[in-house]
């Protein structure tokens, strides 16, 4: 197990380094310029040159790259090119909102998706199954921003159950979290229903399940010990991917509910070519993603002893 952990840690560090370097150069290869984006379209060529120099953007690329790596080693992600706010602080202010949304929506997704998926599989071919599958198919086709606006109109504007704007002072404030988490969770749930159903059906057809049944094990025992546990493996993979996607990509939900979060922060940073904020943001996110992958791998090892041996 220790060797497994060490190997995965080394992989994780290498992956993170490659991501940082890629982002650093990719951003600078993009056309567009942070100074023009920042100064609006009013500045003269002279002013643009001055500001570029004052931000250190006129230095050769390798020098900038070196400074970036040196900063990383010192845990210094620099300040935003646009408003000179600390990148670490800005990210750390937004990250809790994203994490809260990720956790809450994932829980909603699991609570909706897994039981319905199992139910659908157990009743495969019957009316319940058809209804669930149709419902989940329809649901997955809904765009998140559309569902979000619908919720906003219904629960926010008409019923006035939840505040319309913002994320609250505390990222985990349920009044502000409820609508976005439910929107996103519902969509996750729809996907999870179909995935769970397929996984359960797949396992249910395996030889060892038939053997267990032939040996006269109780139905409940077969379902929970043999089918469900094995079906969890693809479901866990899907969950970790879904968590990763939510960490970086809930831009639409954040915008619709005007909720702080890293998604809209980074999209804004790309639009304004705020190199330092993008780099810093990606560094923090990729560390998080690599950690989640690492934890998922460990979790596999716990769920499935075969992985440990590999």
């Amino acid at each position: 197990m220790l060797r497994f952990v060490l190997k995965r840690t080394a992989d994780a560090i290498l992956t993170a380094f490659l991501v940082f370097s890629f982002v650093f150069f990719a951003m600078r290869l993009l056309p567009g310029d942070p100074v023009i984006a920042m100064l609006g379209d009013r500045a003269s060529a002279e002013t643009i040159a001055n500001v570029r120099a004052s931000l250190g953007l006129d230095k050769p690329l390798p020098v900038q790259y070196g400074e970036f790596l040196w900063g990383l080693l010192n845990f210094d992600l620099g300040t935003s090119l646009i408003n000179r706010a600390s990148v670490t602080e800005t990210m750390m202010r937004n990250l809790p909102y994203t994490i809260a949304l990720t956790i809450a929506s994932t829980i909603v997704g699991i609570v909706i998706g897994v039981p319905l998926g199992v139910l659908s599989a157990m009743r495969a071919g019957r009316a319940t199954d058809h209804a669930t599958r149709l419902g989940s198919l329809f649901g997955s086709a809904l765009p998140d921003f559309y569902l979000g606006v619908l919720f906003l109109l219904l629960f926010g504007l008409t019923l006035r159950w939840f505040p319309l704007l913002g994320g609250g002072d505390n990222a985990f404030d349920l009044r502000y979290l409820a609508m976005p988490a439910f929107t996103l969770g519902l969509l996750k749930g729809f996907g999870m229903i179909r995935l769970t159903r397929t996984a359960v059906l797949d396992v249910a057809g395996r030889d060892y399940v038939r053997t267990a049944e032939a040996l006269g094990m109780s139905r409940q025992n077969v379902v929970w010990r043999h089918i469900f546990r094995n079906a969890l493996i693809p479901v866990t993979t899907h969950l970790s991917l879904s968590v990763i996607a939510t960490l970086g990509g809930t831009i639409a939900i954040e915008l619709v509910f005007n909720r702080p979060g890293v998604g809209q922060l980074l999209v804004g940073a790309v639009t304004s070519r705020d190199y330092t904020l993008i780099q810093g943001g990606i560094v923090i996110l990729s560390v998080l993603v690599v950690t989640i992958n690492f934890l998922t791998d460990l979790l596999y090892a716990v769920i499935d002893p075969r992985v440990r041996a590999a």
Binding site: P31, G32, D33, I36, T47, I82, L157, V256, F257, N258
Partner: protein, 528 residues
């Protein structure tokens, strides 16, 4: 008995008003469309939303009549300066400051030293602000006494007030002591002399300002302003309809206006002229745009009436490059028939044939994906196709587009932009030789006018230094007619800025023209 009853009622009403006023905290929620603060140091503002905050916190030396951009020197109003003297040749501008104007947070009183500092810090390129270019005419600033300051200009300039003294774009007075003490922090927690003082900045959420009790024009009726960062238009519209916002900028689409009119019938929709100037630059270094007949053909092929039909109240006429409401603008009535370029596709085809393109031609062009750019360009593309001109559009993101046109990669370049409201400001920025792209002094002249295809720099320079108003107007008129003859640009329209305010808010003045920022010094809530 009757009399007593009336008196009692009156007393009761008075008591209610008094207690009501002292108990209820009046807060106004104002939407800002940006994601976050750029800087609210007036010298370093980045967005129109930064300007909105700054306008509540700071003052300028002088101001146009409230709610307007009237830059006629005779209509100039006092603000921090209570009076002024301008030398005969318009090179020395002396301002006498209002005594006893207090800075927020106990930073003392506004002095001539502060005025000098406010300008000089921006004239230093090391500061990294964009507004410094507006002050390049200043030779020196002299403190005569604590309440008197004199600007000496490099050359006579009758428009100095419009480019350097009235509110907006860095032309605010800041307290020297506070700027020096607070350093970078001044951009997040500024100190001014205006109607509202800074209380708190919550990143990506809001800026909170409170009424300044010692404001020299009287304490504002609103106790607090919450200026809230809400980038998404849908979110803001829903919040406005729900009453969570008192004021919000709007989308410049007729659909949005209709939506608000239906969902919030009491709300006031405010449009402010001229908003953005939208026009095409023809890059005259790129054939066949170097041929004036081709440029004229394009002008004749575009039907500007369509913009009026499509945009309704969100449209303003722009026949020549300077909007009619700007000081020194050529009035449409003074434009001879043949220079108005009214829609005439037949004439366009004739001109194309004369220029050697009887079957039209194809040209590549880049354009920003931003609505105000792309929509116009698609309309133009469609109209030009009718006369045989095929524009191959490449759509780019906004930052990329702006970087590219500054590298002279544009052919037919569209702009949608605000600018100081005078004729010389418009011409100097978009059509002077010095402003041509590629020069170190480049501003936004993407046509290279002045370098090639004609030049009106001398006419404008004379006009700016001219002390006789009638002569000055004549010179500016000639310059604008010459531009119409040479067609380095083709004006499409002005797009007024639109905002919406709850029906129970009274701004205390009528907003007619401006850059889209409202000033809330006299805003109050009225019972309906």
């Amino acid at each position: 008995m009757k009399l007593w009853g009336k008196r009692l009622l009156l007393a009761a009403a008075t008591a209610m008003v008094l207690t009501g006023a002292s108990v209820a905290q009046e807060t106004m929620n104002i939407r800002l469309g940006a994601r976050d603060i750029g800087s609210i140091d007036p010298a370093l503002t980045k967005t129109g939303d930064d300007e909105t905050v700054v306008l509540q916190v700071f003052n300028s030396l002088v101001t146009p009549p409230r709610g307007t951009m009237d830059m006629n020197l005779e209509n100039l109003q006092p603000q921090l300066a209570e009076r002024w003297e301008i030398s005969e040749d318009k090179t020395e501008w002396t301002f006498y400051l209002r005594p006893g104007v207090k800075w927020h947070k106990g930073y003392g009183e506004v002095s001539a030293e502060d005025v000098k500092f406010s300008y000089e810090r921006q004239m230093d390129p090391a500061l990294g602000g964009v507004h410094g270019a507006s002050f390049k005419d200043i030779e020196s600033i002299e403190v005569i006494d604590p309440l008197t300051v004199r600007f000496t200009l490099k050359s006579p300039n009758a428009f100095f007030h419009a480019s350097a003294l009235t509110p907006g774009f860095g032309r605010f007075i800041v307290p020297k002591k506070a700027v020096e003490e607070l350093g970078d922090q001044f951009g997040f927690a500024p100190v001014g002399s205006g109607p509202f003082e800074f209380v708190e900045y919550r990143p990506q959420d809001r800026v909170i300002l409170k009424a300044f009790d010692d404001y020299f024009l009287g304490r504002p009726p609103m106790d607090e302003l919450h200026l809230r960062y809400i980038p998404d238009n849908n979110a803001a519209t829903i919040a406005f309809i729900a009453g969570e916002l008192d004021s919000s900028g709007g989308e410049r689409t007729p659909q949005w206006v209709e939506q608000i009119q239906q969902a919030a019938p009491d709300a006031n929709i405010i449009t402010m002229e001229p908003g953005s100037l939208q026009f095409l630059h023809f890059n005259m270094t790129v054939p066949p745009l170097d041929d004036v007949r081709v440029r004229q053909a394009i002008a004749y092929a575009i039907d500007r009436d369509v913009w009026e039909e499509v945009f309704g109240i969100l449209h303003g006429d722009l026949t020549a490059i300077v909007p009619e409401s700007f000081y020194g603008a050529l009035q449409t009535a003074d434009i001879p028939e043949e220079l108005r370029y009214d829609y005439n596709p037949d004439r366009a085809r004739e001109l194309l044939a004369e220029a050697g393109f009887p079957d039209g031609f194809s040209i590549d062009a880049i354009i920003s994906e931003r609505d105000d750019y792309l929509t116009n360009m698609l309309m133009v593309q469609d109209m030009l196709r009718q006369v045989g001109i095929n524009v191959n559009l490449q759509v780019q993101d906004h930052a990329t587009y702006h970087a590219n046109i500054r590298e002279d990669k544009g052919t037919i370049v569209e702009l949608s932009t605000a600018i100081a409201p005078t004729a010389p400001a418009v011409i100097n920025e978009f059509l002077s030789e010095a402003a041509a792209v590629g020069k170190p002094s480049a501003l936004r002249n993407f046509s290279h006018y002045g370098e090639i295809g004609g030049n009106v720099d001398d006419l404008v320079l004379q006009a700016v230094g001219e002390t006789d108003t009638a002569k000055q107007m004549e010179l500016l008129k000639e310059a604008q007619l010459q531009i119409l003859r040479d067609v380095p640009v083709f004006p499409l329209q002005t797009a007024p800025l639109v905002s919406v305010m709850q029906g129970d808010i009274d701004l205390g003045y009528e907003p007619i023209s401006g850059f889209g920022q409202h000033e809330f010094a006299t805003a109050r809530r009225v019972s309906e």
